[in-house]
């Protein structure tokens, strides 16, 4: 009887009295979490203040919530148009990136050919060149080919400049898939492209999902190309729209924050919906690679 009691009480003391080291680690993690969440909470309640309230004290809570800021932000920026433009460009770019990175990643992982190393280096190099160095040449190219200022303009650089990392991810993931599966498929008479699409594609879905989600954020938030390549205001994307809240010498912070919350909504929803996929995708790529 006594023995049983002891056994029962042991785990309970463990649960309630963790070691100091664990406590410290947890506290540290909590601090990190807070440092990410507090700014979001602050943006959230600040978006409900009047500008005078905000100027009076940056940290205080709103005295009476101003939902008018949201209405004003939607009206001022034509938020629906901005979101539609962003969504159209982003979704098509992400589809393009995922498709191209799958094929290229598979080929670099599985085939040996002349110039393969140079190709891989070329893609890696893409990650090293800062976007701002490329703005002027890209603009010139687009202008000379009459590609600037169209609804599809941004899709081209978004796909081109976002390929490096996805190709690396897919490539390392494919390397982790046993070759025997493909050999078996080949023996059964499946062609190279058949193997790629019918055997490997379903296995690579986790890493492709990761690629798609990561690139969704990158394209949705992109600013520099959208600024330089577009003139027509009706084509502007969400990040450009945020500038409506700034004037040369002052900024309407509560409205800007309302606009930010609205612009963050789609990406936040997507993140929460797919967060487990993102993590498992990155992990599987990492472990198998």
């Amino acid at each position: 009887m006594e023995l049983q009691l002891e056994l029962k009480s042991q785990p309970s003391t463990r649960r309630f009295l963790p070691s100091p080291a664990k406590l410290a680690v947890n506290a540290l993690m909590l601090l990190f979490t807070a440092s990410c969440i507090i700014p979001l909470v602050w943006i959230g309640y600040s978006s409900l203040k009047t500008q005078a309230e905000f100027a009076n004290s940056i940290l205080s809570l709103p005295s009476a919530p101003q939902f008018a800021n949201y209405m004003e932000a939607i009206k001022l920026t034509n938020m629906l148009q901005l979101s539609w433009n962003s969504a159209r460009v982003t979704i098509l770019s992400v589809l393009g990136i995922t498709a191209i990175s799958f094929v290229t990643g598979y080929i670099t992982a599985r085939l040996d050919f002349k110039g393969k190393q140079a190709m891989i280096f070329y893609y890696l190099f893409g990650m090293l060149v800062p976007i701002h160095a490329l703005l002027v040449p890209t603009y010139l190219l687009f202008k000379n080919f009459s590609l600037a200022d169209q609804w599809y303009t941004l899709i081209i650089p978004y796909i081109a400049f976002n390929l490096s990392l996805p190709i690396m991810l897919v490539s390392s993931y494919v390397m982790g898939i046993p070759k025997e599966i493909e050999e078996a498929a080949a023996i059964d008479g499946l062609s190279f492209s058949g193997t790629m699409y019918r055997i490997i594609l379903p296995i690579a879905v986790p890493v492709l999902t990761t690629v798609a989600i990561l690139q969704f954020f990158s394209c949705w938030n992109e600013f520099s190309f959208a600024l330089v390549l577009l003139k027509d205001e009706s084509l502007r994307t969400v990040p450009l729209g945020m500038s409506y809240f700034k004037s040369q010498h002052s900024t309407n912070y509560p409205q800007l924050m309302a606009g930010m919350i609205l612009s963050m909504l789609p990406v936040t929803i997507i993140y929460f919906a797919f967060s487990s996929r993102i993590i498992s995708g990155v992990m599987s790529g990492a472990v198998k690679g």
Partner: protein, 445 residues
């Protein structure tokens, strides 16, 4: 093969003849029916700022009036926020693809003139003497090179005014803003005891110190001749006592703890907010901050706000009332535009956007236009905006260094002053570094 290339040649020739005819006919037809002229315009004035910023309000009102009066002119307009404009305009300029009309900050003017991006406008201005002569004295200067006007100024406000809380200064025994530097330091000490900063200061974006402090302060001590001598290579040096003294006065304010400690890591928006929160008794800024105080400060702060300029300096050679100022931003025309109907339309549009009517409106809503608005209705102006306007009109405008000095010197000063204010370098060191950059510039072939 020969036959094919001959055919190709014939087709190309025919196409070019036909297209040339076509163009000619189109142009004539357009002229006859008075139909569309298209002007592309890129500027940093936004509809979302109408009513908040005097410049945006006046310029866009002018544009709207022009559109109504000239329906045959189509304007393809692109409105961009200030920093976004800088990024895009520089990219377009590098690609030699500027729109027909665009904004050029004074500090870019040298570069744009040298690279023949902007059109000289003397001929066009001379056709419209009444408009040309309406600009306040000196406002065309920073847009003029070797006698040729390349830019039409918009606003001309001083970049140095002091907005101060009269109640706070009253509570430490000053009925008005201190009239000498020792008095100012004394007020700073008394305010510090109450836990209030004398000035809030925000130089995160580099350039604030130069435009709102250094240009005015150096002029108080050295007088305008020193600045001219620097610009002409006439022997003045940055290591001269006057310049070092001006920088020292700024660093003493920081050292004594009269400014906010985070002075290099907050921007001017935050600096103004500190004043609104009552954490400082004053801030130094341009006339553009007047409407910010009127629109956004809590009521008790707005009603206590008055406007002043730096006090005179004992033994100083400059006018103690002067303020750094003048026009800083210009509308320029693409050098590819030829004289004719289109250029006429552009000049008329610029008259609408910056000339008499627009200037009057800008003054009425609290701005300081480059074009002299003459008499205007001051009844609607808030007392703070009116005080800022009057201080501006009374002040001698002295040159803003960042518009006039070479970019290499501006860069050294903008970066160096942060070190001095943070206490990591001395005014003497900054003066020495600036002088070195200046000498390098002078020795350039």
């Amino acid at each position: 093969m020969k036959k094919r290339s001959f055919m190709l040649g014939v087709m190309v020739a025919a196409a070019s003849v036909l297209s040339a005819c076509g163009n000619g006919e189109n142009e004539e037809a357009a002229a006859e029916s008075g139909s569309t002229i298209t002007i592309s315009l890129m500027h940093r004035y936004q509809e979302s700022n109408i009513g908040k910023s005097p410049e945006d309000t006046a310029v866009l009102d002018g544009l709207q009036r022009f559109r109504a009066d000239y329906p045959n002119v189509e304007i393809i307009e692109e409105q961009l926020q200030n920093e976004d404009y800088s990024i895009k305009a520089q990219a377009l300029a590098a690609a030699d693809d500027m729109p027909d009309v665009f904004i050029v900050p004074g500090s870019w003017m040298d570069n744009f003139v040298t690279n023949e991006i902007v059109l000289p406008l003397n001929g066009e201005m001379d056709k419209r003497p009444e408009w040309r002569d309406g600009y306040r004295p000196g406002t065309l200067d920073a847009g003029t090179r070797e006698g040729q006007v390349y830019g039409i100024p918009i606003a001309a406000g001083p970049t140095h005014l002091i907005y101060y809380n009269a109640d706070m200064f009253g509570s430490v025994g000053y009925d008005q803003f201190p009239s000498t530097w020792p008095e100012l330091m004394d007020a700073g000490e008394k305010l510090k005891e109450k836990g209030i900063n004398l000035f809030s200061y925000g130089d995160k974006s580099k350039g604030y110190a130069m435009s709102s402090w250094i240009s005015a302060l150096t002029d108080r001590i050295n007088g305008p001749d020193w600045t001219e001598s620097i610009l002409n290579g006439g022997g003045a040096k940055f290591t001269d006592d006057g310049f070092v003294k001006g920088i020292s006065m700024m660093s003493e304010l920081a050292k004594a703890g009269y400014l906010n400690k985070d002075l290099n890591s907050v921007d001017t928006d935050t600096m103004v907010n500190y004043y609104f929160e009552g954490r400082s008794a004053a801030f130094v800024s341009g006339i553009w901050s007047a409407m910010n105080v009127v629109n956004n400060a809590p009521e008790e702060i707005t009603s206590a706000t008055r406007v002043a300029v730096f006090p005179g300096v004992e033994g100083g050679l400059g006018n103690p009332l002067s303020s750094s100022g003048g026009a800083g931003v210009y509308y320029s025309v693409n050098s590819g535009i030829e004289a004719g109907e289109k250029l006429d339309a552009i000049m008329t549009m610029l008259d609408y956007m910056t000339g008499a009517d627009s200037a009057k409106l800008m003054a009425e809503v609290g701005g300081f236009p480059a074009y002299d608005p003459g008499e205007f209705d001051k009844s609607k102006l808030h007392p703070v905006a009116q005080a800022a306007y009057e201080a501006s009109a009374a002040a001698d405008a002295t040159k803003i260094f960042d518009l006039w000095f070479d970019a290499s010197i501006v860069e050294v000063l903008n970066t160096g002053i942060q070190g001095v204010m943070a206490g990591s370098s001395t005014p003497e060191q900054l003066a020495e570094e600036t002088q070195q950059a200046y000498e390098t510039l002078l020795n350039k072939p």
